[in-house]
Amino acid sequence: MATEPTPLDQILYTLNDAGQFKASVLAATDGLSIATVHSGYNSDTTAAMVALLQKVAREAQGELGMAKVDEVTIRDRDCTRLVCRYLSVEGEGLILAVVVPSGHPYRHVTNRAIRQIRQLLS
């Protein structure tokens, strides 16, 4: 029995369609998956990996004295990018991760999704 998509699912579906991304995942900073657009990727593994990236980014930020990290990107040889955007809502650290095909923009659509997520959780 299928259930209705949650409001967070709907935000991710819209984001994924708008950006024509290969995958979109919202995860907690401890690696638990919160919402995902079904794709060829395992959502639990993706959530855990993006949380691991966030941990490394936070350590680098601390060691190098950088300002708060806004995003981390990994680009493969085909120019496909894994983009992790970080946000904090009411004390909860969240990671919005998208897999972006070569040449596709992502900042504008992920900014819009982040605003919608903040609005939902506030």
């Binding site: 259930t3 995860a27 919160i34």
Partner: protein, 163 residues
Amino acid sequence: MRTNLTLSADLAEQIERILVDLQRNTQAECILLADVSGQLLSTQGQMQEIDPVLVAALAAGDMAAMAELARQVGEENSHGSFLHEGENKSIYLLSVASSFILIVIFRADTPVGLMRLFGRHAADQLHPLTAEFEDSMGQPHQVSDTEFGATLTEELDKVFAGL
């Protein structure tokens, strides 16, 4: 249902609104709010497959056992949350202000992170309301072994009646 807990209409409405939001945001099957002795305050969602009074009483027992277990291992905050991951349905119990329990029953394929995120959010929103409720009752509702035992026994008797 044996209960001496009465909510004002305004408080009941505010609590219901929070439970409705939680259900919409998580697509949980049903949500219950009970006090730590297992007496129901509010419910939301499909209750056809469960006996909410029994679920509340059993959840209170689980929560009390888990709090004691946490204390035994040296956990200072023994009023946290815990999750039962089932094959088809899962159960998430959250302590609200140490005196109430939010019980969420949801499909096992729902992301645990989603449940935790919105469960905490709802517990934060319920916190001041439960404090208001306790004020209106005159004193914090204490867990009484006798009261909890009586509720649980009564509900278990109903379940096993006729066997």
